[in-house]
């Protein structure tokens, strides 16, 4: 079976995406269960010129590296055109738009490092000094 897709971007110009591959689960705090929209998951950054990335989620810092995928993955967007030609074939009114291509993934497979914020440490020190 042939599936037709639309690609709006030009030849070889599809926007590049990447997968963040994490060993574990990203969970929302119970108080935020109901409103997941627009929550910041974490900060992904590449601290040095090497292909080493850090992802900071909550008080964990993950360290990972970029790995090319064996087979690239296409990111598609499916739109249904309702109504007009409904009596003809069902297949026709579904359109697939290419959003991007994924060729790389950033893999975080090591145990996360716990971040203890500086402010807490300082607080502790001041307490010690008072005692």
């Amino acid at each position: 079976m042939q599936i037709r897709m639309k690609c709006n971007c030009g030849e070889g110009n599809c926007s590049e995406w990447a997968i963040v591959d994490v060993q574990g689960v990203v969970e929302a705090q119970p108080s935020f269960q109901d409103r997941l929209q627009n929550l910041e998951i974490g900060v992904l950054c590449r601290p040095s010129s090497q292909e080493v990335y850090t992802l900071t989620i909550g008080y964990h810092e993950l360290t990972g590296s970029k790995v090319p995928l064996k087979k690239p993955i296409l990111v598609l967007k499916k739109t249904k055109q309702s109504g007009v030609d409904s009596d003809r074939e069902n297949n026709c009114n579904v359109e697939l738009h290419v959003v991007g291509v994924i060729r790389q993934r950033i893999l975080f497979k090591t145990r996360p490092k716990a971040l203890i914020s500086k402010a807490k440490v300082e607080a502790k020190e001041t307490q010690k000094s008072t005692i």
Binding site: A28, F32, L39, R111, Q127
Partner: protein
Amino acid sequence: MDMDMDMDIPLPEELDLLESNARLLEDYPDPEAPEPYPYEDQEAPPAAQPPSSPDLQFDSEIQVIGQKRSRSVSPNGSLSETAELSEEKRCRTDESARATDEDWLRYSPPKGNESVVVEQGSFVREKMLSRYASEIDGECMPITAPNGDRVYARLDRLEGEERMKKLDVRANSDGLILEPINILFEKMDQEAFTKTLEASSKCQNVPDIPETPIVHEQLWVDKYTPNSFTELLSDEHTNRQVLLWLKQWDSSVFGSEICSTSDEVLSSLKRHSTVVQNQKPLDSKFQRTIGGPKWSNHRYRNSKSMDESGSSKSFQDILTRKVKHTGPPEQKILLLCGPPGLGKTTLAHVAARHCGYHVVEVNASDDRSTSTIESKILNVVEMNSIMSDSRPQCLVMDEIDGALSDGKGAVEVLLKMVSVEKKSDAGKENLVKERSGRRSSKKGHKKASLSRPVICICNDLYAPALRPLRQVAKVHIFVQPTVSRVVSRLKYICTREGMKVNAIALTALAEYTECDIRSCLNTLQFLNKKKEAVNVFDIGSQVVGRKDMSKNVLDIWKEVFQRKKAKAERKSHNSKPFEVNSLYSLVSSRGDYDLILDGIHENILQLNYHDPVMQKTVKCLNSLGVSDLLHQYIMRTQQNPLLVYLPPTAITVHQLVAQIQKPNIEWPRSYQRHRTMMAEKMDILNTWHYKIPPYIARNLSASSFVEDLISPLLYILSPPTIKPVALQLLSDKEKNDLAQLVSTMVSYSVTYKNMKSDMVPNSLRHEVADHLTLSFDPPICEFINFKDYTSNHYVLAPAVKQILVHEVEKQKILQVSIDRPLGNGSSSERPEFIEAGTSNAQSSKINHADAISVKNIQNESNVTKGRKNNANATIVSQNSHPRKGTADNMKLQNTGRMRMPSSGSFFDRFRKLNNKGFRSDDRTEQKEATLDKALHPLLFKFNEGFTNAVKRPVRIREFLL
């Protein structure tokens, strides 16, 4: 020349060889020596002639001229020849007027000279002389005498020309300036040359001086200082070596044998090693351009042969090589060392003077900081002296090992200069040798390179400050001269001084002072002054002044453990007191008693002395113990006068155990080793102490830590109840145990750490010696590593340790977050409780628990208060509460202890409180969590295991829901 003849006496061939090194054949019998020096002679007659009135002068004038004419032919033959070449310029005036003394003529104002020259050899006649210009008709010229009288002389041209021819011969003899300027320069050169010639011959005539009677006050040591090379008492071989080394400098210091000056100068150069400085630039330049390449080719070979030449093969061979060798010697510093009074300084001075150097001595008494020494050396090394004494300088640094820091500075400067020189040399060799030219590269590094000989003198070659110098310098060790040689010299001096001493006494004296000639002479002079005779039998009691000198520590130990041979003992008649005395002075002059006694203590048991019932050993160790106590007491109370009682210990030991055979002495190390180990351990302990929260640590001193606490703590930290299984499989009780253990570890800030097992060699728990093992992070096992003590605590399985590491880490993180609002008290109450429960025998623990319980109450109230006051407690307000609380704690602590005397009931109460504390803890934890949530809406939960552990095909459909 007397001396030169003397010098030939010992071994003429060798001396010839030395001289040939220099290529300046000093010892040639010089036929021209008696030649009268022209200026000397010329100056003599005018000095004899008193200045007289003009009238008288006129009469005597012709006579004077006649004298001069006759004289001038012989000495100044060469000059007159050259003078005739420039005949047309020459003219003459009559010296008639009052100009009898030649000085006046020679230095007459140039103005007069010019006028005469301009007027083409005019001649002034006597009769035309007048005091007044008006009395003379025709041309006239003024003539002024040195005393201010002025006369006018008539000029007569016609006659002048006639006279000129007649007086041709006379012209040069009277030394008028009418000579061409180059001849005058030549004369000046010659004058300077003759002066140096005189000076050098004077300096070589110095040996005669001792023979002449000298002022009585002078020290004999100074009086009979050897002034020539042959008078030196020191070892012949060493002397030669030093001289040879100095001679190697000749080429670079004095220039070379190739000379562009007149034959006369050349012959004189051959005669005398000292060369006038102002001729040097010419020579050296000349030589550098011509002889340069040759050196670089032969340099290496020559330096090799240099070293061997001391032991001397056929010196014909060496002579030919020497001619080619021109650079300074390979080792630019000479280091003379040896015991005092053997004449090291004297040798350096004599040898340097003999080679024509001006000796600059830097003594221990001079300022020897690095900066001053550097400038001094630079002065010596770089400058050609502009003093009247224009010999090149030679630096003699006496007692370079004297004061450590000072000597070090000097040594550093010298080393720097040597190293610079070496570098430049190395650089040169890399370049094209001939082209780059020695001169240019030398100029570049001129700033700091040594270009004059430096002789360093020290007593102790192995002084630590001299270690670097030893490697670059040529070292000569002075050996003691034979007693007979010293005695013969002493005898010679004694007879000269009219002192009657028999040879036996002198021998005894020399032996006593170990051939220290200086002290011998001083003693003799002293006795002579006192009109006493040298007492053969008891030299020690008579005043023998010796240079203050301390021996090496190793020598002292050797001295202590080794008995003198029986023969030597018999020789010194009253050996016992002498021995005691010498040992005492030996030890006390050295000073570091603790080191000396340490060495004795460590080496004494290695000796094999006859001691069947261990009596000697016991005695020795006893006395050592006493001295140790004494030393400790002195150190503590600073009663330094008591230090004099320390050396007798060494004497006692010597009396007891000294053997004839050579002892095998080792440097004492165990004390140092143990001290450093102790310091290391104390360091670890202290850092651990600081890491433990203060409310625990303040009750623990280092000694109580080590002596009381650690072994029980080890038992607590490794309970046998915990099974090495996964956390999920533990029962509730076990989980509780584990939690308690973890909190104990956290509160005592103990954890496990991967360590190589060989790093903890004596560790009791790691018998497995192959790979990384987990051991306590502050290595607390080490602290109780007492001799013959094994802590029998249960050793946890590695798996358990692994778990504990994680748990402790987790607990720490948790604690940090919990501690923030609550202070330290609540987080650590559990461990404290356990501590108190398990080790109830320790009173200190009870005190702890006491304090903690009180704290609990306090904290709880704090928390509740805080919650009531503001639900959204900020960090600041939360912090303030514990602060208040702890302040109260201090007060309550005391009262609390008084209130609860019985420990049993106290623990019950404590347990209850504890539970309450837990509850409050939980509540605060929740609150903390909400705060955290505000900060981090999403959290990451890590899944243990590997991503590739479970693989399952997934259809794309499942993604596209």
